[in-house]
């Protein structure tokens, strides 16, 4: 296992553990306001300090991890659930009108500035975690469709697929039984990358007020609150931002590491 993979896995596990633990325990109630203790720097009682309402930042970060991970995870799920079948179909019917339709549709979604459309969708459907998931998820669909198609196309030329065809299997069954397991590695790597992009996107949408709504804490929302306080209490901005960076960094390192680990040829080519 490479150093990248190890470091990435440790960082990601820490965030996931914090999110899971927050269901059972947080040092303080993340919604409890305590004005006399507002804007405290990180210390013994409040490990990461308090915000302008005296809420415990460590507890908010833990619960915020839940929001970030959930939104990004479901958005990746949407992308995979729709994108992978589309990609498999396009590869199985290469050159047909269906392939052309799927790929041109993909190009079109790619052409939309994702952030603008995500903002448009959440602004129109109303701000909230669910709509943020939809907005981010839509842009994951063409990514998975393209990666799946690209990886599946060369497989269709291989002998074992020919054997399956001779055995009388239809293209849908071949796609599910033989193509999918062979492209799964690549999809897992892409999934990790999209997951980290999803976390960044969620943070951006929450920051402009279009993500999860208060009192549900989210890292982007915490940054928006911190903006006017940045000179008084810089820790309010530094801590949630660092949480985002470490999570995204962990996932990216894990994605890179997984890619190398799953594909030894690439590892040789890279070094």
């Amino acid at each position: 296992m490479s150093r990248n993979l190890l470091l990435g896995a440790i960082l990601s596990s820490l965030v996931i553990l914090a999110a899971l633990l927050s269901f059972l325990w947080t040092p303080f109630d993340h919604t409890a306001m305590n004005i006399p203790e507002k804007l405290q720097r990180p210390g013994v009682v409040h490990w990461l300090g308090t915000d302008h309402f005296g809420r415990d930042i460590f507890s908010m970060i833990m619960v915020g991890a839940r929001t970030s991970l959930a939104v990004a995870l479901v958005a990746v799920g949407i992308g995979m659930a729709i994108g992978i079948p589309l990609g498999l179909t396009a590869a199985a019917r290469k050159g047909s009108w269906l392939d052309e339709l799927i790929m041109r549709g993909n190009d079109l979604v790619f052409a939309f500035p994702s952030l603008v459309i995500a903002i448009l969708i959440t602004a129109i459907l109303g701000p909230g975690a669910i709509n943020a998931i939809i907005a981010i998820g839509i842009f994951n669909i063409p990514v998975f469709a393209r990666v799946t198609r690209g990886a599946a196309l060369p497989l269709w030329q291989r002998e074992f697929i020919l054997a399956a065809q001779v055995a009388g299997k239809g293209s849908a069954r071949i796609s599910a039984e033989h193509i999918l397991p062979n492209v799964a590695n690549l999809l897992i790597v892409q999934g990790t990358i999209q997951f980290s992009l999803g976390i960044l996107a969620e943070a951006g949408l929450s920051y402009v007020g279009l993500g999860a709504q208060p009192p549900t804490p989210s890292w982007g929302r915490m940054l928006a609150d911190a903006q006017t306080m940045v000179s008084l209490a810089p820790h309010m901005a530094i801590i949630p931002g660092s949480a985002i960076v470490l999570t995204v960094l962990g996932l990216n390192l894990m994605g890179d590491g997984l890619r190398d680990w799953l594909d030894p040829k690439l590892r040789e080519a890279r070094t």
Binding site: R104, D107, L108, A111, F112, P113, L115, V116, I117, I119, L120, I121, A123, I124, S196, L200, A203, G204, Y207, V208, G220, L223, A226, Q227, V230, S231, P234, A237, I238, P240, G241, I244, V245, L246, V248, L249, N252, L253, T271
Partner: protein, 315 residues
């Protein structure tokens, strides 16, 4: 080449047409009537009806769509519901902030990424390479709006070198305008520079394995000389493609950064328009951004085909 260009152009027009339908449809399902929103809750029904008719909201959806698209083709983007001024004028005003910001960020991104990518490729596997690659990993993980806040904290609040937000305008000279765009441009450029440096490095490393590079080394050039004279020029093709794509991304990506710095650009215009249900402004700005992205992609494709003839036959 002409056939390829025509085909790409046709696909460009089709994409734009579909995009316009999608944007119109998204706006149509938006809850809330602009006329009611503008007149407030105490408005009389006949006043609302009169305003609806004045704004053309009583026409059929198809009619409204055709009027909108037809108007845009002739440069008439309609009239803002809120400000009662032509949308094209509002967009033109805001473009004077957003466009220079995107160009500024693109220039910074290129200035940072080129040396970094070349340096890393020339020292592959050595500590210098690892430091650059580590920095780019960090660069892509940092949300640009958070980086913007840190820049404000350090350079505006603590050091007082720049203002924390707002735009000085271009009337006081180029310097003042550029100064107020500097922190936003740095924040916007950072993740793009990280991506670009990685592309530059891997493009150069690909080139280093080519036969002509071996020939260059065989005729006596040092590794560095070969990299500068022969490697760089060939590596530029994929790098230029990414730069083209990044420009449109920067234009659209500035939306959140404009919020951080209270810059009166297209991004803030969209947010204000969304909150005041000024749908015609929202439609037009989003369409303009989509147009910019699709057109830049088209130009990049063409440029790519011009330098690499193999691509023409592939599509």
């Amino acid at each position: 080449m002409i056939r390829y260009s025509l085909k790409r152009f046709l696909s460009l027009c089709l994409s734009l047409a579909v995009a316009s339908v999608v944007i119109f449809a998204i706006i149509e399902i938006a809850p809330g009537d602009p006329a009611e929103f503008m007149l407030g809750i105490n408005a009389q029904p006949d006043t609302v009806a009169a305003l609806r008719s004045e704004l053309g909201l009583d026409q059929s959806k198809l009619q409204r769509y055709l009027t909108w698209v037809g108007g845009m083709l002739t440069g008439d983007f309609g009239t803002s519901y809120t400000y009662r001024t032509p949308v094209s004028e509002m967009i033109a005003d805001r473009l004077w902030v957003s466009l220079p910001l995107a160009l500024y960020a693109l220039a910074l991104s290129t200035l940072i990424a080129f040396p970094a990518g070349i340096y890393a490729a020339a020292r592959r596997g050595k500590p210098g390479d690892m430091a650059v690659m580590g920095a780019t990993q960090l660069g892509v993980a940092i949300p640009n709006f958070w980086f913007a806040m840190l820049l404000v904290l350090v350079f505006a609040i603590n050091l007082r070198w720049f203002s924390a937000g707002g735009f000085a305008g271009w009337d006081d000279g180029l310097g003042e305008g550029l100064k107020s765009l500097t922190l936003p441009a740095i924040a916007l450029a950072l993740p793009q520079a990280a991506i670009l440096a990685r592309v530059m490095r891997s493009a150069l490393l690909d080139i280093l394995g080519e036969d002509f590079m071996r020939t260059a080394r065989a005729k006596g050039l040092s590794r560095r000389q070969a990299l500068w004279r022969h490697g760089l020029r060939n590596a530029l093709i994929p790098v230029l493609t990414i730069i083209g794509l990044q420009f449109s991304f920067l234009l659209a990506g500035a939306i959140i950064i404009e919020q951080v710095f209270y810059l009166p650009g297209l991004g803030r215009l969209v947010f204000q328009a969304i909150s005041s249900r000024d749908l015609i402004v929202v439609e037009s700005v989003v369409m303009l951004l989509v147009f910019a992205v699709i057109t830049v992609n088209f130009l990049v494709d063409l440029a790519y085909a011009l330098v690499d003839p193999r691509l023409r036959s592939r599509t």
